[in-house]
């Protein structure tokens, strides 16, 4: 499970995201630019690598964004 934490001046929210959803995002994001079969294979491999790393390193911060308007986004495994 990947977790997305969003902190804005108006409040905070946390979105848990199953790994299969990440696969769907990768497929959707690249359906125009990439070859469908290659993209599918790539998405599967990315998810497999993320899942394996997340199992060994729970809480690992994958992405940490702070913008100048005060919004913070953190994606953790």
């Amino acid at each position: 499970m990947i977790k997305i934490h969003i902190k804005e001046p108006e409040g905070e929210k946390s979105i848990p995201l199953p790994y299969f959803a990440i696969k769907s995002f990768l497929l959707k994001a690249n359906e125009v630019t990439g070859n469908r079969e290659d993209t599918k294979k790539f998405a599967n491999e990315i998810v497999k690598a993320l899942r394996s790393f997340g199992k060994k390193n729970p809480g690992f911060v994958l992405v940490d964004i702070h913008d100048k308007e005060g919004t913070e986004v953190k994606i953790t495994l």
């Binding site: 990439g34 990315i46 993320l50 790393f53 390193n57 702070h66 100048k68």
Partner: protein
């Protein structure tokens, strides 16, 4: 910086968890946590092994600041690439983006040419020459591989740990 903070910083830079360190050194995870919170100190006999897995020296553990500079690690003490992490830090006009990519993902990205782009924030990861970075890592190079400061104040840092 206290010794505990330094130990925590060096452990994170080495991409290791407290559980891994405790198992490797044969101590409890609570002991590692106590060291990092300055509640207790590691036994002196453990220092050489701690220095080895943190890719540093006993002297740096005790005296020096945590180093961010580039280093070439001997093959015998290199970490498994699957446990390594590539850090990309971008600062641009008040926006800060930090991306920590397990090296296993970097390998996949370097091998995949079918993707048009792979954006996180305003960074297109496909524009980074991962093949060159991996080649350096396979030669044992770790630390700060890229540091760019642009004329308009933006910075990009790419680091491997």
């Amino acid at each position: 910086m206290t010794i505990g903070q330094k130990l925590a910083d060096m452990r994170r830079r080495a991409g290791l968890t407290q559980d891994y360190v405790s198992e490797h050194l044969g101590v409890t995870p609570q002991a590692v946590s106590k060291w990092e919170n300055d509640v207790s100190c590691p036994d002196i006999t453990l220092l050489p092994e701690i220095a080895k897995i943190y890719h540093t020296t006993v002297d740096d553990l005790l005296n020096g600041e945590a180093t961010k500079e580039v280093a070439v690690i001997d093959e015998t003490v290199r970490k498994d690439p699957s446990e390594m992490v590539l850090h990309i830090h971008v600062e641009d006009h008040g926006d800060k983006v930090k991306i920590n990519l397990p090296l296993a993902l970097v390998v996949l990205m370097s091998e995949n040419d079918s993707m048009g782009s792979f954006n996180i924030g305003n960074i297109d990861l496909k524009k980074i020459d991962f093949k060159s970075i991996l080649s350096m890592v396979h030669s044992g190079v770790i630390g700060k591989l890229v540091e760019i400061e642009s004329a308009d104040g933006g910075t990009v840092i790419i680091e491997v740990e």
